[in-house]
Amino acid sequence: MRQQYAWRSLVLAGILSFVGILIILQTFRIQNSPEAAVFRAQAAAYANVLQTYYPERGDIYDRSGHLLAGNKTVYEIGVDLQNATDKHAIALAVGVELGLNPDDLYNQMINPPAGLQYLVLADYVDADKAAALQQLKAATDAQNNSLAGLEFKPHPQRSYPEGSLASNVLGFVNREGRGYFGIEEKYNNLLAGNPVQVSVPTDPNKAFDLPHVPNGTTLVLTIDRDLQAAVEQILNDSLTKYGATNGTIVVMNPRNGEILALASSPQMDLNQFWNYGSIYHNASEFDRAVSMPYEPGSVIKILTMAAALDSGTTTPNATYLDTGALLVGGATIRNWNDQAWGVQDMTGCLENSLNVCLAMLSTKMGAQTFYGYMNRFGIGHLTGVDLAGEAAGRLKVPGDADWYPVDLATNAFGQGVSVTPIQLMMAASAVPDGGRMVTPHVLYAMVRDGRQYSVPTQYAGSPISADTASTLNQMLAVSLEREASSALVPGYRIAGKTGTAQIPDAYGYEDGVTNASFLGWGPVDDPQFMIYVWLEKPTASIWGSDTAAPTFAQVAQKTILLLNIPPDSVRKEIAKP
């Protein structure tokens, strides 16, 4: 009997063992089958997802640490159409809180595009308004849940706390996070930082290393916020006062090229960058100081005189008889008032802004020498200023198809040559800076990973000698004093030059409209600021001496106050041993 049980047990155990072995074998077979490889590959493909971590865009500060561009959280407000139980209530709540038309919102919700489950009702909503709406939703959740389906998605947005201040310098960032114009475009890669892609396991139970995504580089600008505000105010007042269509004012330190203020009209509220198209007609209008070349007129006489002095073509005390006309290349060059000015020295040429005198000097120098100096001054070349959209202007030279011998004469007093204000500032910086030109720049320092990197001063060559620079510096100061220019600032010695230029059109030059300019610097013995003023088509007076020069004086006075520059007498007192 026992033997029978034993056999049965053995048979049963054998069968079960056999089944067990079969199961194990089948498991091995399945695991090593071709299908298993496919499944494993699929599992591996879905095991991780590539996730991109975007760094926060770097901030922009002025030279004193005031925030000019930062980031803030805004909300996208949308509705999950499947979960929205009361679309009327949602339309009403969103419409009232955000100032939108509830009927429009409701129509959007009941007639969504085919296949759409999530509908965006509003984007770039301020945190305050979104919070109010969230509170309302929380209140209704406890009662009738009428706002079910309403969703809030936070995301960062560029913010400009100063609104339109320094807008022409900063540029703006669009909704896709790309910088346009000014600093935002020029340093877009630095500001935006480097997004990091990481393979993240989809299994929530798997831990993974979070990537270290450094924020975009923070930039510190050379701009002085208070001076910038004052300069923009003066520019806008001057445009109104003198009836000019547009204008530009730039304040730069001629010793190191730091741009302290740059105002160009019109300015725009950078927080509403979508209005760009209605404010500007083309890109060059955004920052006229660097993007819009124009015929500058007599301010370029600074460079012509510098070339003449440096090349030995003339000396400060050399005299000539001004007859009021000079024939060059078959064309007659005349002074601004069509008058003869008699015997003049070189300071008199600058003081009275005599076209004939400067044309005489350029022709005496010869094309090779004159254009050689213009080339060394950087006329017709980019300055390398760190602002987007810089234009090079145009300097025709012998050999160009459209160059004529008369151009040698007209170029000497700023006709037939186009420059940007920033170009002329760089060129003229050789005069107050001992013959050495500085490259204008807006970036003072970069802050990255907790370290600050300062931008060194860059020099753009020495087109003239230190002696020439010193001589011309004094000549320009004397010419303003003799003229009793309205550019003068009491207590401070200023050097500079006005410019009144006709505006070229397709047939020659427009009648009765001019570009009024003034380029000056001070204090003459220790130059700390250089100011360029350009007013387009002023109607109160066509002359730069009546419009741009007094505007320069206003800006100079404000600069002196804000930069704490003591009067010449005080500085001399301090300098005494």
Binding site: N205, K206, D209, L210, Q452
Partner: protein, 165 residues
């Protein structure tokens, strides 16, 4: 006395003892239970480690969200401060407090020995710590099999190739 020549064969009685069947069964059951217990211990250890790893992963994720939320809040506050101290707002506040813009002839310059003019902003803080290696220990990421594999696999030998001075 004659003693018959008898070949004596000595038979030793060998006492063979056999374990009682129930004792053998008990031993088998005991061994089996020991194996089961061992496996259960390993499984529970594995579960514990996996659960800890998952919890830590979750905690890290939550902390990272908190960090990014904190950074965003900082950026918001910074921008808010920027708005509250903007030129326009400060001018309005100054005017409301009775201040007026100073003019050149109202300024008196005084020589102050040792005074240095304000310099441009230095915004950089102390260098922040940069993680140079994965911050999550292998205990939180590797499985038990990985651990065994690491223990069984001999460490790679390193050969130094370089310039000798």
């Amino acid at each position: 006395m004659n003693i018959p020549n008898v070949n004596y064969t000595v038979h030793y009685v060998v006492h063979a003892y056999r374990q009682a069947p129930w004792r053998i069964q008990r031993q088998w059951i005991g061994t089996f239970m020991l194996i089961v217990l061992g496996l259960a211990m390993v499984a529970s250890l594995y579960l514990d480690v996996t659960a800890q790893a998952a919890l830590t992963g979750r905690t890290i994720q939550n902390l990272s969200y908190e960090i990014s939320a904190g950074q965003q809040a900082n950026a918001d506050l910074e921008t808010k401060i920027g708005e509250l101290t903007s030129t326009y707002v400060m001018e309005q506040r100054a005017a409301a407090l009775g201040y007026q813009p100073v003019t050149a002839n109202q300024i008196q310059y005084v020589i102050v020995p040792g005074y240095t003019a304000p310099k441009p902003a230095i915004l950089a803080a102390a260098p922040e710590l940069k993680p140079s290696a994965p911050s999550i220990l292998p205990e939180y990421t590797e499985s038990l099999m990985d651990w065994f594999d690491q223990r069984l696999t001999p460490p790679p030998t390193t050969s130094l190739i370089g310039n000798s001075q």
